[in-house]
Each structure stands twice: as C-alpha cells, then as structure tokens.
Amino acid sequence: MILRGKVWRFGDHVDTDAIIPARHCNTSDPAILAQHCMEDADPGFVSKVRWGDLIVAGTNFGCGSSREVAPIAIRGAGVSAVIARSFARIFFRNAINIGLPILECPEAAEGIRQGDEIEVDTGQGLIRNLTTGAGYQAEPFPEFLQRIIDRGGLMPFVEEQLTARAKDDPPSGDIRGSN
C-alpha cells in the first residue's frame, strides 16, 4: 500500500487520553470518536487534518489505556498511518489488530518535520520525505505479525483459524498448544 500525505508532528509519550479523552469513550461510533481525536494535545487537529495525512511522533506513542478506540479515532479522523520512534505495546497491538498502518522508525521520527509531504510504502516499510528528498527504512515486522498485517487485521486471521480448526478437529473445547 502506498500512502501519501502531509505530516502532523507530535512529541514523546502521546498517551491514549491525548489521542481520545476518556470522556468521549462512551460510544463505539468511529465518526463521533474521530471528532475528538487529539483534542487535548492539539484542539484544532480534527479541523486541520486532511484525509490521508500522517502522524509522526516520538517515543512511546499510545501509552496508557488499552482503549482500542484510540487507533479507531485516528483512522476515523482520516490519518492513513502513524510513524513513531517507538509505540506503547497495547497501542501497537490494537493498531495492527484493526489494520491501522504503523511504522517504527527512529530516523524518520527524528528527521521528518511538521507539514512535510511524505510517501510511505507500508509493504516495504519505506518512507520518503517528498519535501526534503530524504528516505528512511522502517523496522520490519516479525513474520508472525506480518501475516496478521497482510490480512488487514486480527479478525480475518481469527476466522481463518476457526475455519482450520473446524476442518481439522471435531468441535471441542480443546485448543492447539494446550496440554
């Protein structure tokens, strides 16, 4: 997938309350959640961001809550991908699980500025700064995670496993890997 857009920069430790304040988490409607994306970090963000734009942030992006509405709000606001120096682990899982592209790339997180136009090849992990001409290579995902990413998220992966189990085994409470 090739993504292209303008960059919105955020700093280190952008927490899930900054991404989507809990006071707005009493809904699962992506459209409502999107209206409040980054509200406490940059109150004007939702009105400024355009469809396809990207977030570039520092270290530990998405720390805090397990709320899956955080990547849902980001995607709902039109953001096509998040590039960061590093991600907090639950946000990392959630983004992959719902199919929001994320890239871990300290050099890009360092080098890319607010407002730069960038192009991202999510399959290859290649990031190109169209404004400066600089190029970056994101950390590759472990093979296991790449399989989930390739399917667009965890749900198709789960369905595949359920189908495989139905074929292989008579329905039972047994699960692979248990004693």
Partner: protein, 420 residues
C-alpha cells in the same frame, strides 16, 4: 538455561517445555476480561465474527465499572449492550450493586489464581501479578480472539528484576515503591517487558501493596508486573474462595536471565508523589509539600482495598477535610465498602467531611464523580496523571499513597502525615 517466573507461566500456557524472550507463542488464556468501555466493542466485533462462539463462557468476565452507575445516556446504552451480550452468551457479568472496580473485584471473587494467564481489555489487568498471575492488557479485538480461540498471540517478554532492600519507614507503602521505580526507569523503562518484584522490603508490606505495585507496571510500559506467589498469596486466594488445586506457585530459577536488574534501598524512602503530567515525574513528598489543592480522591483500582481505606482512616480519624478541599473516597468493591462500613471506616470518612461513593473508575479517567474544572488540582491515589486525565486539560493530578492523600485533604495542600 533457567526461566523467569513470566517465562514459566507462558511456557505452561503454550504446551512448551520452555520459552525464551522474543518468541511468538499462542498462549491458552484462563480468563478474558472487559469493562463496558472495551466490552461494547467486544460485543460488536464478536457478533461480526463468522463461525465464532465463546469457547468457555465461564472464562469471560464483563465488569461494568468505568462510567457506572451510568453517568449519562450514552454510557447507559453501552452498558445495556454489554448486558444483552452477556445474557445471550452466558458469560459472567458484574453489574451495579454486585460489582466493583474490576481489578479489586476479580481477585476478591476468587477468579484469579497463581499461574493463571489473564487477557484483560483494560490496561491495568497487570494488577493480577500481585497473585503471581500473568495479567496483561489487550484491546477489544484481542479479547474477541481470546474468547473465540481460547488463546492469544503473545511475544514472550524479556524480564526485568526489581529488588527492594531494607525496611520501608512508616507512611511508605507499595505505592511509593512503584512510584520511585517509575521515576527511576521512566514511563517506558520496562516497555514490552515483564517486571518482577522481589526483595526483603516486601516482607514488611502486605498483599494490598503488591496489588498497587503490579497495577502500575503498565505505567512503566510493562506487559505485566509479577510477584512470586507465597504463603500470603495462598491465604488470600484461599479466603477469596479461589482455585487452590492446580494453582502454580512458581518462582524464577536462580540462573534465569534478566534484561536488567535494579536494586533499591527503601530504608531512607519517604512517601513519593508523581507530578503532572506523567507518572515518571516523581519527587519526595517533602519537595512538593505546600502546593495548594482543590480535591482528593482515595481509592480506585490502584489503592481501593480495605487496607488502603484503613490507611486513609488512620489519618482522617478525628480530623476534618480542609474547607477548600473536596475529598472523595471510592472503595474498590461492594465487599470492600461493606467491610469498611462494619469496621467504622465510613463513619470516620463522613465525619471528616468526605464524600463516599459506590465503586467506580469514574474520576480517575475524568468520567464522573469528581471531574476537575479548569486549573484545578487533585491529589489522587490512582495511577495516571496525564494531561486532562481527570477533567479539564489544564487541571492537574498528583499521584500519591492513601496516607499522603488523606493528609493533603486535611492540610489543603500536599502534605505527608507527619506535617499535619
């Protein structure tokens, strides 16, 4: 090569003799947990899953605690959807009047045993590490996967060992040990790792202190925070009516490998306070004393046990909350509340001019029951002080232990018990 406690639990849950850090495994899950905030997404996603049924409804628990008793119509709606989903699928469901804050409630209900693996759609699921159970926070889709498959993909984490030496002085508890630790290593100091807590200082503290410490492992970025279960844990689980047969009282092998080992001498500790807007902004209470406050919150999943309320009551007995301050006490569960009533703690709080609330996560995440106005300042026994966490983006939360929170309520400004 020896294994750490975390590795032993994960190895036992994927049918492997041993596992090592970095390895991806499918781990059998003993319990899946969600609140109404994550549960509503779980319900929606699960109904979309083709061919999905809950493998074992008894291993799925929904606890309505974040915005309950429903704070507004939208919250009432998401709780209703969780309730309907629970009825349809026959999962365990804890509603208003029978519930509590999930991380206080589940151990108390005997649903957590040493050696268990718990996938909770709540980041503070790491709390169960206090009982030697591998609790880890996941999102709603992960919870759906665990419900349908009975297992969850996990990357085996590196372990980091935290050794606490010495005898912690009076007024210093688990909250101070974990705040100090997060201050020392930072909010991503244990990112992706399993924290393991040990050392003779912990012998002077109770199981409640372990819950507080494990609870905040996520605030250092960790996947879980573990204590090797001991006789105190066996007593706790036995009293709670939990599973004793098959529970695994493991500890790390002497030659287990750690990504890092940290040692702290607690002898000269004083209570610590985390200033806004990160839990790593930790300073001794003496250095922040005198900062005027508007509100105090005591309780929550971090410090909502009976022991925590006893600590607050020890300070508030015969005293009164400063006229400028609102003090809100939130017992962690119905049982904690009732025990506190029977012990006379609630009378102490009300006499001291505190508001006592039914169990809810409410104020901790700026939901209800104590939301802060612009520029207001709160001392809270909760676990997060991010910008806007408890209300207006300019409001401030200072994290502290129950003694300090209670003393601050009396003083009207941040104070240690020795100062009032």
């Amino acid at each position: 090569m020896g294994m750490t406690l975390a590795e032993k639990i994960l190895a036992a849950h994927c049918g492997a003799g041993e596992v090592s850090p970095g390895q991806f495994i499918n781990a059998r899950v003993d319990l899946v947990l969600a609140s109404e905030l994550s549960g509503v997404l779980v319900a929606e996603e699960f109904e979309k899953l083709r061919g999905g049924k809950i493998l074992d409804p008894q291993k799925v628990v929904f606890v309505m605690d974040h915005f309950t008793p429903a704070k507004d119509i939208q919250s009432a709606e998401i709780v209703r959807r969780c309730r309907e989903f629970a009825r349809k699928h026959g999962i365990r469901f804890y509603d208003v009047g029978r519930a509590g804050i999930q991380h206080i409630l589940l151990p108390e209900q005997g649903l957590i045993s040493p050696g268990d693996l718990i996938a909770g759609a709540d980041s503070h699921t790491c709390t169960y590490g206090a009982l030697g159970a591998f609790g880890t926070g996941v999102g709603s889709t992960d919870a759906v996967a665990a419900m349908a498959l009975g297992e969850l993909w996990l990357r085996v984490p590196e372990s980091a060992l935290f050794l606490y030496h010495g005898r912690p002085p009076k007024w210093v508890g688990g909250k101070d040990l974990i705040l100090y630790t997060i201050g020392a290593i930072g909010v991503e100091g244990a990112r992706y790792q399993a924290m393991e807590f040990t050392g003779e200082a912990l012998d002077f503290l109770g199981v409640a202190d372990r819950f507080t410490m494990a609870n905040m492992a996520i605030e250092a970025g960790a996947k879980t925070g573990l204590f090797a279960p001991d006789e105190k844990v066996r007593e706790f689980v036995s009293r709670a009516g939990g599973r004793l047969d098959g529970a695994a009282y493991w500890s790390s092998d002497p030659d287990a490998e750690y990504a890092a080992v940290y040692e702290y001498d607690t002898t000269d500790f004083e209570p610590f306070v985390a200033e806004p807007f990160l839990p790593e902004n930790v300073r001794p209470v003496s250095q922040v004393a005198g900062i005027e406050i508007d509100q105090v919150v005591i309780g929550m999943c971090t410090n909502g046990t009976l022991d925590d309320l006893r600590a607050a009551a020890e300070i508030l007995r015969g005293r009164e909350v400063h006229p400028r301050v609102r003090a809100i006490i939130i017992p962690g569960s119905q049982k904690v509340y009732l025990d506190a009533v029977r012990e006379g703690l609630i009378e102490i709080f009300i006499t001291a001019k505190c508001a006592v609330s039914t169990s809810t996560c409410g104020p901790c995440l700026g939901g209800h029951m104590g939301v802060l106005a612009q520029g207001e300042r709160c001392v809270s026994t909760s676990n997060r002080n991010f910008r806007g966490r408890m209300g207006h983006p300019s409001s401030e939360v200072y994290l502290a232990n129950p003694y300090v929170a209670a003393a601050s309520a009396v003083a009207g400004s941040i104070a240690s018990p020795d100062m009032i």
